[in-house]
């Protein structure tokens, strides 16, 4: 009896209006000696079926913490303060550890940053994928079925079947990352979280991997959450995107919309400081200052000390993530003052 098959996945019906994962007011702190780090603060977003969502931000903004929160893979000093993470309507934070373990990888899989470290160097890659199948389908798949399934997985990510019998060091960086994706697909999850999936890969290989992920998303009706510091990668692959700053989601919306009309000053400045090889060679604007210390985040809007539009109100009151039309949400009191990007870009 075959429990899962790659063919089944491609036949999955997808309703792009139906929410798959809903994150509601997630608040998460790290307890360290010096105090509590407010790593994720009031983050809410929804991933629909078959949708690719990007979370972008600089190091320390909490994007990886959000990803790990979704899988409940946080280090032991992390503490969920409040919020819900609903997958198909069920709150993952209410599950016991064993229930969560069963759903992890089966429903949500993760492609980790740095494919090099995702593999144990002393086992064959195929055996490591088999281990995942053994864990989740104990006794339900024969060895031949497992082997067949793994060969299909490898084919799906563009790797020859014989690579299953190779050791990780025999793979190139790009191949290793493909194998990581194959492993993420092993239990045909509904959602894949890709944390910096192409960091440390060269551009040409990065391009190949991103294309592969995009194809898998469309063909298999998969939802993907991309976590990246590289706003250009997010532009390439996502349908919707959120911008994070200092543990907060400051802007969220349709990717094309956010890029065309960034309404949070941080997003705006981020886009203005991103160099590109296309278009006119425009003046880049540096973002002054450094991200805040999350042990003691600024009052009001966390971006206000670095914001050119900041007023007294920004330092006093925290702006809500408000819808400004068409599902484009912005957490800024003065979003109307943020100029149009095109004007600024041409200069």
């Amino acid at each position: 009896m075959t429990v899962i098959s790659v063919e089944d996945m491609s036949g999955r019906s997808v309703d792009p209006r139906k929410p798959l994962l809903e994150v509601d007011d997630l608040v998460m702190h790290y307890k360290i000696k010096a105090g509590e780090v407010s790593a994720v603060d009031n983050v809410s977003f929804t991933v629909h079926q078959g949708e690719a969502v990007g979370l972008v931000g600089e190091s320390g903004c909490g994007k990886t913490s959000v990803a790990l929160s979704l899988l409940r893979l946080l280090p032991s000093n992390a503490e969920y303060i409040s919020g819900q993470i609903r997958l198909d309507g069920q709150d993952l934070l209410q599950l016991t550890d064993n229930e969560m373990r069963a759903r992890r990888w089966k429903d949500i899989a993760m492609v980790f940053q740095g494919a090099m470290n995702s593999w144990n160097p002393v086992y064959r890659v195929g055996d490591q994928i088999k281990e995942v199948l053994d864990t989740h389908f104990r006794g339900e798949m024969t060895y031949d079925e497992q082997r067949q399934h793994m060969e299909k997985l490898f084919a799906a990510v563009g790797l020859p079947a014989e690579m299953l019998d190779r050791y990780p060091h025999e793979f190139s960086g790009g191949m290793r990352q493909r194998a990581v994706i194959a492993m993420a697909l092993a239990c045909s999850p509904q959602l894949i979280i890709a944390d910096e999936p192409t960091t440390a890969l060269d551009v040409i290989v990065q391009d190949q991997i991103l294309k592969e992920l995009k194809r898998i998303q469309h063909e298999m009706g998969m939802s993907i959450i991309y976590i990246s510091h590289d706003i250009a990668v997010i532009a390439e692959v996502t349908d919707s995107m959120g911008v994070m700053y200092a543990g907060k989601l400051v802007e969220y919306g349709d990717t094309a919309d956010v890029f065309a009309r960034p309404k949070h000053p941080y997003t705006y400045l981020l886009l203005k400081s991103t160099p590109s090889i296309t278009g006119p060679r425009r003046q880049l604007a540096p973002l002054e200052g450094e991200p805040p210390n999350l042990l003691d985040p600024p009052t009001g809007c966390r971006f206000h000390p670095r914001c050119p539009f900041a007023t007294e109100k920004c330092a006093m009151e925290e702006p809500p993530l408000a819808d400004i039309g068409g599902g484009h949400r912005v957490a800024c009191w003065h979003y109307e003052q943020v100029p149009d990007l095109e004007e600024a870009l041409v200069r």
């Binding site: 010096a34 600089e58 910096e196 960091t199 510091h229 805040p292 999350l294």
Partner: protein
């Protein structure tokens, strides 16, 4: 754009909470403050930070308290000798006092320390004593006596010498030995490890094969053989243990640490700045292996104390008095054969060896957490 992700943990950028340096150098132009003064303050500050880290480690603190107690013991001996202790009685080597003890005369002895056999009593005292009488005989070794003109808190040995005095006297030697051994090994190991790592090639190959050779040599049998050929005193023992450790295991550990530092970009930066080989080794590599060095120094002391005790026990060292030698005396005169009856001859010295080695080991473990940030609890 693909490699641009900082490798540091996400929170790094926002979390450095080290104390401000402003109060150290002031806000005015620093040129006015002499450089050495600033450096002294910086050193004090970094010591302070390390101390704060160390203090949180319970094991390390227990070790430190134990070491402090041993230090007090070491200091107390000359003071006691100069003040309350009569050298004729209490000198650890030449003192003598036969404690007069009461013995009950019995037919068959069940407790050697309080009973005496009828026949022996008749031979030693007079032929008219009889079973059941209590007689007073000067004895050595004598169990602890707390009263009388010359109390012996830990008793006397078979030559009538005060055990407590010997114990305190030997503490100094133990410290001395440990420090000599540790310093020797650390100086050698740091140099050998850093040089081997930095130059690599045949220098590395030669030094490391030599280290393997020394590592394969069993230290204790080697020292036993050496002590047969020549007289080994405390200083020599310290230096020998230091050399064996320094060229052997510790050098290998420090070399691997130095290797991980050698590949860091600041080594290249120092070379581009124009720094020569020795500049790079002693200014950049050695300071970065030094913390680990201190750690191995602690374990080195532990080892040296244990080795000294073993060698002394077999009477192979040319030392006047040491904990190991105290046990040796007890053994050589057959007192260990009667179980724990003569406990004061064995336990004080044995426990002192154990606890001192243990104390330095604990301090080493405590330092380990300061030196290896990865072991630190968050």
């Amino acid at each position: 754009m693909s490699v641009g992700q900082p490798v540091k943990p996400e929170t790094d950028e926002t979390l450095h909470t080290s104390p401000s340096i402003d109060e150290l150098v002031g806000t005015g132009p620093v040129v006015a403050t002499p450089l050495w003064r600033v450096r002294l303050r910086l050193m004090r500050r970094s010591l302070g930070q390390n101390w704060a880290l160390f203090r949180e480690n319970k094991m390390g603190m227990v070790g430190l308290v134990l070491i402090a107690m041993f230090a007090l013991m070491a200091i107390s001996h000359p003071i006691l000798m100069a003040t309350v202790w009569d050298p004729a009685i209490y000198h650890p080597l030449r003192g003598h006092h036969a404690v007069v003890q009461e013995f009950t005369i019995v037919e068959e002895v069940t407790d050697e320390t309080t009973q005496i056999e009828l026949n022996e009593a008749r031979i030693r005292l007079n032929p008219f004593v009889d079973v059941g009488e209590v007689v007073r005989i000067p004895t050595q070794p004598a169990p602890p006596t707390l009263t009388g003109e010359y109390p012996h808190l830990l008793g006397t040995d078979n030559q009538g010498r005060d055990i407590l005095s010997q114990l305190l006297f030997s503490t100094r030697a133990a410290f001395f030995l440990g420090v000599v051994a540790a310093l020797t090994s650390v100086v050698i190991a740091t140099t050998v490890g850093s040089v081997a790592a930095y130059f690599g090639g045949w220098i590395d190959g030669g030094l490391m094969r030599f280290a393997d050779l020394i590592l394969l040599m069993p230290i204790l049998p080697l020292l036993i053989v050496m002590s047969a050929a020549m007289e080994i005193n405390m200083v020599m023992l310290g230096v020998i243990i230091g050399i064996l450790n320094g060229f052997g295991g510790v050098a290998i550990v420090l070399k691997s640490q130095a290797l991980s530092i050698k590949v860091k970009a600041f080594i290249d930066a120092a070379k581009v700045a124009g720094g020569g080989d020795w500049h790079v080794i002693f200014r950049h590599i050695v300071p970065n292996v030094l913390p680990l060095t201190f750690l191995y120094m602690m374990f080195g002391i532990t080892e040296a104390i244990a080795i000294e005790a073993t060698l002394s026990f077999f009477g192979l060292l040319n030392v006047e008095m040491s904990w190991g030698l105290m046990i040796h005396f007890a053994q050589a005169n057959g007192y260990l054969l009667s179980g724990t009856t003569y406990w004061w001859l064995l336990f004080p010295a044995g426990l002192a060896v154990t606890f001192m080695a243990f104390a330095f080991f604990l301090v080493g473990r405590g330092m380990d957490e300061v030196v290896n940030p990865r072991l630190r609890a968050r």
